[in-house]
């Protein structure tokens, strides 16, 4: 089940203008890069990107940049603070008549999950709390990908990272819930595997003033251990197994923008990636697999209760997986 869309109904309606040139140093098949490319298409050319250190800071490696927009590089912990400075500077210049209002820019923070949930958490929280008028784009590859895939607090339970060779024992932090606790006007989860849903959400967010927060699942061929050609396929499996829910919250009111009619078993997703191979070989870890599966079923049962109380969507169980 998909929700009705106002701005983009199909792929053909996506803007054809490219605001991200080819030739960046990102890995072939980078899920973070495709997310950024789609986001920028909708936001348009008048943006300034404030980039926290991470994989995507390598976008602009002197003397080359793939961005047609302005770009500023900050430390891993301070991109939202940098965005505040840029926003304030623009506001001051416009107020004093030193910059025509027509040259105003949208301020966009671009940060990975390590910056967002670990190193830059307080800076991000502060900027949202102050009501900074900006977009926040978190590309979530579920680890510190740039430095060799060390675990972050976004690494999913059971996944292998450079710092958890036998699988993480912690559970992934819920960034969306963390954002909602700050009461932003707009927050959403997106995936490049559903470009129309992503574009629609970015476009919807542009009508709000204040923090507009996005987290996109960024498939990572080297870190996740997938063939670059499979990136989009793995991203779709994350949606169809229910592991990566697509949702948005407008002034705190949550709705899911894609509710799978039938969930696929999480194993369909996990088995595509080397970072989960140890759960299947040399022997199966049924306990860990059951924990991951039950967490997903529990999540969607809660969604059904909350968002679709009047429908015939009954309680999900393992027997409903297909």
């Amino acid at each position: 089940m998909k929700v009705k869309r106002e701005f983009f109904r199909n792929l053909k309606e996506l803007p054809t203008e490219e605001l991200l040139a080819p030739g960046s140093p990102m890995c072939a098949g980078c899920g973070g890069l495709i997310t950024l490319r789609l986001v920028l298409k909708v936001l348009g050319p008048n943006v300034v990107v404030v980039n926290a250190a991470g994989c995507l800071t390598m976008l602009a490696a002197y003397p080359y940049s793939p961005l047609r927009a302005s770009w500023l590089y900050t430390t891993m912990g301070s991109a939202p603070a940098g965005a505040q400075g840029v926003r304030d500077a623009l506001d001051v210049l416009i107020a004093r008549g030193r910059l025509p209002a027509s040259e105003d820019l949208r301020v966009v923070v671009l940060a990975g999950d390590g910056s967002t949930l670990d190193i830059g958490l307080s800076s991000m929280s502060g900027a949202i709390h102050r009501g900074l008028d900006f977009h926040y784009i978190c590309y979530d590859n579920e680890a510190f990908g740039n430095t060799g895939f060390q675990g972050s607090s976004s690494s999913p339970f059971g996944s292998r990272t450079a710092t958890s060779p036998a699988g993480t024992t912690q559970h992934k932090k819920d960034l969306f819930a963390l954002w909602l606790a700050h009461r932003p006007p707009y927050a959403a989860t997106v995936s490049a595997a559903d470009p129309v849903d992503l574009a629609e959400k970015v476009r919807r967010s542009m009508q709000f003033r204040g923090p507009k927060l996005f987290v996109g699942l960024a498939t990572c061929p080297p870190g996740w251990g997938i063939d670059p050609a499979q990136g989009h396929h793995v991203g779709k499996l994350a949606l169809d197994t229910g592991i990566w829910p697509l949702k948005e919250a407008v002034h705190g009111e949550v709705r899911h923008t894609y509710v799978p009619d039938h969930l696929k078993p999480v194993e369909d997703y996990l088995q595509t990636q080397a970072r989960f191979h140890h759960l299947f070989s040399p022997q199966r870890h049924d306990d860990i697999l059951a924990t991951i599966q039950n967490e997903v079923i529990g999540y969607w049962n809660e969604v059904r209760h909350r968002e679709f109380p009047q429908t015939l969507l009954g309680e999900l169980s393992r027997a409903d997986l297909r």
């Binding site: 792929l11 053909k12 996506l14 054809t16 490219e18 991200l20 040139a21 080819p22 030739g23 960046s24 140093p25 990102m26 890995c27 072939a28 098949g29 980078c30 899920g31 890069l33 495709i34 490319r37 789609l38 390598m58 602009a60 490696a61 002197y62 003397p63 080359y64 940049s65 793939p66 961005l67 047609r68 927009a69 292998r160 060779p165 490049a192 470009p195 061929p221 080297p222 063939d227 670059p228 050609a229 499979q230 990136g231 989009h232 396929h233 191979h277 140890h278 070989s281």
Partner: protein, 298 residues
């Protein structure tokens, strides 16, 4: 001291190759040091790694700018000035290139002043280990052979140990050990030129601190990365059969690099100068009108 420098692209396994050489030398009782260049490494981007081997404790540090051996995993890197493959080549005794081409031709084409040794590791690795496998075991073994470490049990042990630390499956490790053994069949030790008395590594230059616009790199040309031509990263090229194409736009929407654009009739066109060959377009094309062709460069 023997100083070895490896060049390749992210994913080729040059860092692990430098470690395999280091481990093998260590197992024969020598002092070793190995390190990769840390920074912008990416799958497909130029990467270097270094191994130093000596009978004494190694005090030298940093990049190897005066290599005895240079090993190149991908000859297309010669055309990338940033990769600096031939930095310090005047010290080198041999340059090894993973290539099926004639070694004299390669030396002429790339202006290599010292002897060139070649072996087609790409074909060997693909045949023995499988498509998409990294060259870490075969390249590392090539370095061992050239450096005179030819004891099969030592090399196998080094390959085994380094690949185990990367959590490869036992089957994959066995294939790599097999491929490494075949490299030893083809390569032998080279004689390393003596260094002049009192040779030391290049001195360390203290950094110069500049303030403001002088000290901060600034790029004024938006979107100029298209001039980097990342198409050289590609192993397989996507070919679109426009007769079968339905203009659905999926390949255009899903290309991470914006290397596919739509022409005036909304047909997709691949920018081969920049397509990195991820082949998401081939996987996702609903009518299967995109096929992959092995990239051939001359």
């Amino acid at each position: 001291m023997l100083r070895v420098r490896f060049h390749g692209r992210g994913g080729h396994g040059v860092k692990t190759a430098s470690r395999i050489l280091g481990s093998a030398a260590f197992c024969t009782g020598l002092q070793v040091q190995d390190s990769p260049v840390y920074g912008a490494e990416r799958r497909g981007a130029a990467i270097a790694a270094f191994t130093r081997i000596d009978k004494q404790v190694i005090q030298e540090r940093g990049l190897v700018l005066d290599p005895d051996l240079i090993l190149v995993a991908d000859e297309t890197l010669f055309t990338d000035p940033g990769a600096a493959l031939l930095a310090g080549v005047e010290f080198a005794s041999v340059v090894f290139i993973n290539s099926a081409r004639d070694r004299v031709l390669l030396a002429t084409e790339y202006g290599i002043p010292c002897p060139v040794v070649t072996l087609d590791l790409s074909t060997l690795t693909t045949d023995v280990v499988g498509r998409g496998a990294s060259f870490s075991a075969t390249l590392g073994t090539a370095a061992c052979a050239l450096a005179g470490i030819t004891d099969r049990s030592v090399v196998s042990q080094a390959v085994q140990k380094e690949l185990e630390s990367l959590h490869l499956t036992p089957e994959l490790i066995a294939k790599n050990v097999n491929a490494a053994s075949q490299v030893l069949d083809h390569l032998s030790a080279v004689s390393i030129r003596e260094r002049p008395q009192g040779h030391t590594a290049s001195p360390i230059h203290p950094p110069i601190h500049l303030l403001g616009p002088e000290g901060t790199p600034v790029i004024y040309a938006p979107g100029n990365s298209a001039r980097r031509h990342t198409g050289s990263w590609r192993v397989f090229r996507p070919e679109i059969d426009l007769n079968a194409c339905t203009r659905c736009g999926i390949c255009f929407a899903e290309c991470p690099d914006a290397a596919i654009h739509l022409n005036e009739k909304a047909f997709p066109v691949v920018d081969y100068d920049n397509c990195k060959g991820c082949l998401i377009c081939e996987t996702e094309c609903p009518v299967h009108c995109i096929s992959e062709q092995k990239e051939v460069r001359t």
